[in-house]
Amino acid sequence: MQAGLLDTYRKPTLTRGALAWALSAVLSAFYLVLYFTEALTPVARATGLGDKWTLYGFLYTVAMVAGGVYFLRRHGNSRYERIRTIVVVAVQVVLAFALPIVMKVFGAREYYFSYFWPLKIEYLYPSVILSHPFLIVAWSFVGSLVAFPVLAWFLGKRFYCSWVCGCGGLANTAGEPFRHLSDKSEAAWKVEKVSVYLVLAIAVAATVVVWANWAVGSRHPAFASFAFAVQKWYGFAIGAMFAGVLGVGLYPLMGTRVWCRFGCPMAAMLGIIQRFGRFRITVKKDMCIACGNCSTYCEMGIDVRSYAMANQDVRRAACVGCGMCAHLCPRGVLKLENRPVRLKAGQPIRVYAAGP
């Protein structure tokens, strides 16, 4: 067993007890106050952090650093988990927190180099593109449209979702105690397949509308107000309510990756590429003892065990490659891999019988 997971199912906060609901309410309330009021602005000024978003970034980074230490104490015995966690926390501290502040100090407009369209949808909006230096715009375009698809094909979406992204970073550090709460039912998978691609479609459509408005909006005032509404509505419904209020607010009830799994358009886009790319979780044949550690601790709600029992490699668009299934498997059945599946010339193809 993994020492840190002792009594997970005996703690009311970790099994949807009253305290878990209270914590969920507090987290949701925090995000509502942050997004829709200025109550945090005086706090930010008093602490010298300037505005509420910098204060939020500070709190977020502190949560990730503290959560990262907590995670390493729990799972640092795996080299993959250790390196991954150090990287994702470092990206948050440097690219998503320190660098934007430094940019502001030097009078430049802040920019989060670890976020890209379509997760940060406005980074391909004309308003952002036209107001930033060429190199930043190039970073944004090349990242979203060239580098990310290529990386996802070779490495799987994990290179972003588990190694870089702040949403995933918070989930896998401060959110770590709640990872087992993800819904593994087939019903949840059905909902996920509709919702996550729907959000991606909406994100693409919203981006097209905003660009169309930039091109022809001045001549069509009705379209201009429609485009403005789309932009605003997307920011409210997807950006604030789904990613923030629900995404983090539901940690104690539905696990840490509610947004990543059901909503994130970046996860959807990279997932499609991953599904046909090299990344998979290789299953060692006929070795699974069906214990359920992999499925229970899969934050994306993938029933990994069903693949292991069927001797089938896991190739799922949802998998964020956190590696926890392989780490916790007591029989070493699972292995995250992106080596090409290739047969050496002259080598006989071995067909292993799958049981009698």
């Binding site: 997971l5 002792l6 199912y9 499925s295 049981g355």
Partner: protein, 425 residues
């Protein structure tokens, strides 16, 4: 056609699924007095320590039983009347079947020491065993685990994690001699001791002493020692769960296992047996039950084919097994002979036996390659992850030691970025 399957462990469940795949219309009844749904028995240790909930150990969603039309009967079977094709439940109700699979599994072997009967003495095989131990093994208490096998080490681990102090009393002079040699066992024992487990090797228990109120007070040992404790877990093996067959006329082995032929048919018409309770022929010609998850699974599948009229033969292929001793993973493939008798006399593995053992310096990582003549016959790998399929192919291809050593890295299955660990040569 009504298939009745007695036991919803891995053998029974695999058989039910295989029968359903072959026959969409048949009536299939799954009978168990333990739990309403198939759960993973090897996962009991994780439920005990709260890492998993029982529901999480059930591989199939509860709603899928209705979808697959697997009727579940929660009852204990009292008797089998094979002539009338009828099972009788303990409460008197009968269940008529056309074809029956006995996959009743096994229960813990009981100790024969004075003081064994009564409160405070536990086993760790069934859900009821786990629940009883859960109530009794409170943090701060002292436990003695008796028995040097796989269940013993799992119980010792989860008790320790829970804050119960553990003395692990092992009859043999090294731990798990059925599968490990003295050097490997030494590594495992060091590892257990590093986790705070008090490992006592080569000692026999003589008595479980109780106080005036009947509570467990200590375990007395043959060497005159006495280990004070509050809880005892007896993990000295399992016996077939076949008491209800006493009057059935079915042929049983002297150990109580159900005699089956190569197609897993019992001595009675239309009755098959699979899993821990079936007495099968081993590669060396001996007849014993195979008390293992993997073989129970495979036997369940073969039994289903046999029951649906196919001409099949159950044969276990090249041997493999895996386990985990606290944090040490273990994989074995092929022929790795036991080197110690239960009475601590050495076992002769034969003149052709030779083995190469390597240990990574200062780490609990070892591998042993067993040779027969100049061909590799088996592997015993401790502390790392290995792909048994690759190792198995090498055994079947009768590779030489030099070839295997040159290719060993191809069989590694460590976590990504785990990096290969090499032994000094």
């Amino acid at each position: 056609m009504h298939y009745a399957i007695l036991g919803n462990g891995v053998a029974g469940m695999e058989a039910a699924l295989a029968l359903r795949r072959r026959d969409a219309k048949a009536r299939i009844s799954l009978i168990s007095d333990e739990h309403d749904f198939f759960y993973s028995r090897p996962a009991l240790m994780y439920v005990f320590c709260g890492q998993l909930d029982l529901r999480g150990t059930e591989p199939y969603e509860r709603s899928s039983y209705d979808r697959m039309r697997l009727e579940r009967v929660r009852a204990r079977v009292g008797a089998l009347d094979a002539g009338r094709r009828t099972l009788a439940f303990d409460d008197g109700r009968p269940l008529a079947y056309d074809r029956l699979l006995l996959a009743a599994g096994s229960r813990a072997r009981e100790g024969s020491w004075p003081g064994t009967k009564g409160p405070g003495v536990h086993a760790f095989v069934t859900l009821r065993d786990m629940e009883a131990l859960d109530r009794d093994a409170r943090p701060g208490r002292r436990a003695v685990v008796i028995g040097g096998g796989l269940i013993g080490v799992e119980v010792a681990e989860v008790l320790l994690r829970r804050g119960v102090s553990v003395t692990f009393v092992i009859r043999e002079s090294w731990y798990f001699p059925l599968a490990l040699d003295a050097q490997e066992s030494q590594v495992v024992a060091e590892h257990m001791r590093a986790h705070g487990c008090d490992v006592r090797l080569g000692v026999n228990v003589t008595e479980i002493a109780r106080d005036g109120d009947g509570r467990v007070r200590s375990v007395r040992l043959e060497d005159g020692g006495e280990v004070p404790c509050d809880v005892v877990v007896v993990a000295i093996g399992v016996v077939p769960n076949t008491g209800f067959l006493a009057a059935s006329g079915l042929r049983l082995s002297s150990g109580g296992a159900i005699e089956v032929d190569d197609a897993l048919r019992t001595s009675a018409p239309d009755v098959w047996a699979a899993g821990d309770c079936a007495n099968v022929t081993w590669a060396d010609g001996s007849r014993r039950p195979e008390q293992l998850w993997y073989t129970a699974r495979d036997q369940g599948r073969v039994a289903a084919r046999s029951m649906s009229g196919e001409d099949v033969t159950y044969r276990r292929g090249t041997w493999y097994n895996s386990a985990k001793f606290f944090d040490l993973e273990w994989t074995t493939v092929g022929h790795v002979p036991a080197l110690l008798n239960w009475d601590n006399t050495p076992l002769d593995p034969g003149p052709a036996y030779r083995s190469v053992f390597e240990r990574v310096p200062d780490r609990p990582v070892t591998w042993r390659i067993v040779l027969e003549g100049d061909r590799v016959a088996g592997f015993n790998m401790l502390g790392g992850r290995w792909n048994h399929e690759v190792l198995r192919a090498w055994v079947e291809e009768e590779r030489t030691l030099d070839w295997v050593r040159a290719h060993l890295d191809e069989a590694r299955f460590d976590e990504e970025l785990g990096g290969p660990v090499r032994a000094g040569r």
